[in-house]
C-alpha cells in the first residue's frame, strides 16, 4: 500500500514538474533568439557544397577552440536560398547562381548579399568499367540520350551511334530536386529540368554508383567526388564539347584550363550583408578563403587560383553586393570567364 502511495505521489510530482516545464518551454522561447545567437554562425543549403563548408567549419572550430560555433545544414540550394532570403541564415551554400525568383524574395525582405565563388565541381559521366565500346561521348550524343523526347523511343546504344551494340542502355541520374539535375539538364539538353523520366533517379549518389557499377549497359552522371572515391568500380567518359572536337576527361587540370566544358560548374557561398558586420563572420570568411584551396582539394573539388580568392575577398572589403549572373542560369562558365564577370562587379 505504501508502495502504491509513493508511486502515486511520485507520478503527481512528476506531473506537476512536467506541467511547469512545458509551460516554461513555450513562452520563454521567443525571448531567446533561436536560430542565430551572437556566437553561432548558421549555414545551410546545397549538399554539393556541403563537404567544403563542413571541412572549413570543422577546422575553424578546432582553430578557435570552440569560441565561435558553426552549424551547417543540408536543405539543398533552393531550400537554402529560401531560408537565406527570409533572413534566417548567415551563409547559404549554393551549387548554382541565385535565380530571379530568389533575388526577388531577398529584395522583398531586404536581405542583401555577397556572392562568393569558392570552387569548381566537374559533373562526371560514367559507365561500367567493363564497357569497352565507350570512352568518349559528345554533348550532342548525351543530349540525344537524355532529352525528354527520347523517353520510350531512344532506348538502345545503336540508336545513338550505329557502331555501338544493339543493346538497351540503362540510365542513372540525379533526382529532380537537386542542383546537379538543374545544371546537367541546362548544360546538356539546353533547358533546366528538361529530362527524360525513365531512368533511375536518386538524391543519394551512392545509389547511382552502385547501379552503374553493377550494370554492364549503364550510363550515369554525378559529382566528381563520387567518381574519385569509386574509380575501381566506374569508368569516366571523356566529353567532347563541340562536334569534331577532342574528348576531355574530368580532372583538376582540365577544369582549370576550361577545356572540360560544359560540365564543370562553379559553386558559391552567399553571405548576407548583415552577417558580415559581425566580427566572428569576418573571421570565419578570412579562414574560409585562406584554407579553401587545400580543403576543397581534399574533398575532391577543384579550387580556384589563389589570385581569384584575393579578388573575391575584395568584394567584401569594397562592399560589392549582389550577383553577377542577373538571375539567369549559367552553364559552361570557365574559371577565366567567371573571374572576368566577378571583376566587373
Amino acid at each position: 500500500m505504501i508502495r502504491r502511495l509513493t508511486l502515486a505521489v511520485s507520478i503527481a510530482a512528476a506531473l506537476v514538474a512536467c506541467g511547469e516545464q512545458s509551460t516554461e518551454t513555450t513562452p520563454s522561447a521567443p525571448a531567446a533568439p533561436a536560430s542565430s545567437g551572437p556566437t553561432v554562425i548558421t549555414i545551410d543549403g546545397s549538399s554539393t557544397v556541403y563537404p567544403i563548408t563542413e571541412a572549413i567549419a570543422e577546422e575553424f572550430q578546432l582553430a578557435n577552440q570552440g569560441k565561435v560555433k558553426v552549424t551547417v545544414g543540408v536543405s539543398g540550394t533552393g531550400g537554402g536560398f529560401k531560408k537565406f532570403c527570409r533572413g534566417e541564415l548567415d551563409i547559404a551554400n549554393a551549387s548554382r547562381p541565385i535565380q530571379k525568383l530568389e533575388m526577388d524574395a531577398c529584395a522583398a525582405s531586404g536581405v542583401k548579399y555577397f556572392e562568393l565563388p569558392v570552387a569548381y565541381d566537374a559533373l562526371t559521366v560514367v559507365v561500367n568499367p567493363q564497357n569497352t565500346f565507350l570512352s568518349t561521348i559528345t554533348v550532342e550524343q548525351l543530349k540525344q540520350i537524355w532529352a525528354p523526347e527520347s523517353q520510350g523511343t531512344v532506348t538502345k546504344w545503336n540508336q545513338i551511334d550505329p557502331s555501338w551494340p544493339d543493346a538497351e542502355f540503362k540510365l542513372y541520374g540525379a533526382g529532380s530536386d537537386s542542383g546537379t539535375f538543374d545544371y546537367f539538364t541546362e548544360a546538356v539538353v539546353g533547358k533546366a529540368k528538361a529530362s527524360r523520366g525513365d531512368y533511375t533517379a536518386s538524391e543519394d549518389d551512392n545509389t547511382l554508383v552502385q547501379g552503374v557499377s553493377q550494370d554492364l549497359n549503364a550510363l550515369g552522371y554525378f559529382g566528381y567526388a563520387y567518381f574519385a572515391e569509386n574509380q575501381a568500380k566506374l569508368k569516366a567518359l571523356a566529353v567532347v564539347p563541340v562536334a569534331g572536337g577532342e574528348g576531355v576527361l574530368p580532372s583538376e587540370e582540365t577544369v582549370i584550363s576550361g577545356t572540360y566544358t560544359p560540365l564543370a560548374r562553379p559553386m558559391f557561398i552567399y553571405v548576407s550583408e548583415k552577417a558580415v558586420a559581425r566580427p566572428e563572420i569576418k573571421q570565419f570568411l578570412d579562414f574560409y578563403f585562406q584554407n579553401v584551396s587545400e580543403l576543397a582539394r581534399e574533398v575532391r573539388y577543384v579550387p580556384l587560383p589563389e589570385s581569384a580568392y584575393v579578388l573575391i575577398k575584395q568584394h567584401i572589403d569594397e562592399n560589392k553586393l549582389g550577383t553577377v549572373f542577373g538571375g539567369e542560369p549559367a552553364t559552361a562558365i570557365t574559371i577565366e570567364e567567371l573571374l572576368k564577370r566577378e571583376a566587373s562587379l
Binding site: C18, A32, P33, A34, G37, D44, E54, A57, V74, D205
Partner: protein, 305 residues
Amino acid sequence: MAVSDSLRATISRAKRNDLIFVALGIAALLFAASTFVALFLDMVGDGLSRLNPSFFTEFASRRAERAGILAAWVGTFAVMLVTALVAVPIGVASGIYLEEYAPKNKLTALIEININNLAGVPSIVYGLLALGLFVHTFGLGASVQTAGLTLALLILPVVIVATREAIRAVPGSIREAAYALGATRWQMVSDHVLPYSLPGILTGVIIGLSRAIGETAPIVTIGAVTFIAFLPPSPVTSSPPFLSFDWLASPFTAMPIQIFNWTSRPEEAFQANASAAALVLVVMTLLMNAIAIWLRYRLRRNLNW
C-alpha cells in the same frame, strides 16, 4: 459406420489444414525474423570495428576515422527528454479525462475519432505542421525545443490510446469500492486507477518514445542541422539560479540525420560509421523496450486485486 468414416475424414482434413496453417505461420515468422537477423548481422559486421569509446565522444568530421556521434546522441537524448516531458503529462491527462471524466456525447466521440486518426497521420505531416507553427509562427527556430514539441505531437495519440486502454483494464469494482468509502472522483483516480494502470501507461509511453527516436522526416523538415561540433549549453550552471534552459533553444542534430548523412558520403569508410551509428540507435531502441518490459513486470508484481 458410414457416419464415423465421414467424421474421421472431416477430422483428418481439419488436422491437415491445421498443420498447413502452422507451417505457413512458421515460414512467415522465419522469413521476417531471418530478414531482420541478416540485416542486423550485416550491420554488426560493418559497424562493430568502429565502436570504440572515442566514437561516442567525438564530433562529426570529414575524416571517417576521426568522426563520432557525440552531437548526435546528445541531441537525440535532449530531444527525447523534451518529448517525454511534454507528451507524457498531456497524453496521460487526456487519457484520464476521456476515460474517467468526459461525458459520453457527440463532442467526446468526435475527439476520440480524431485521436485515433492522428495516430495514423504520416510523420512528415507533423514536420510540416511544426515548420509552419513552431518555427515560423512562434519563432522557436530549428532548436531542441521545436524538435521535442514536434515529436511530442507525433506520439501524443499513442500515449493517449495506451493510457485509455490501461485505465479501461482496471475493473469497475475498484472504482465502486473507492466511492463506497467516500472517495472523490480525483481520489479514486489518483489513489487507485492511476497506480493500477501505470504498467500499461509506461509501456505505451516507451513504445511512443521508441517510435520518436528513429523519426527522421519531421526533424529534417523543421531544419535540424547536419554538421554541428558543439553541444547544447548545460542545464546546470555554476552561478545562481544554477538551472539554465538555454539548451532548449540550441541547434542540434540527431542520430537518424547523422546516419543518413554518412550513408550518402562518397568515401567508403563512412559506410562503416553509418553502420556503427545505426547499431547504436537500434541498441538504444531495444534498451528502451527492455526497460518497458522490465517496468511492466515489476509494477504488475505489486498488483493484487
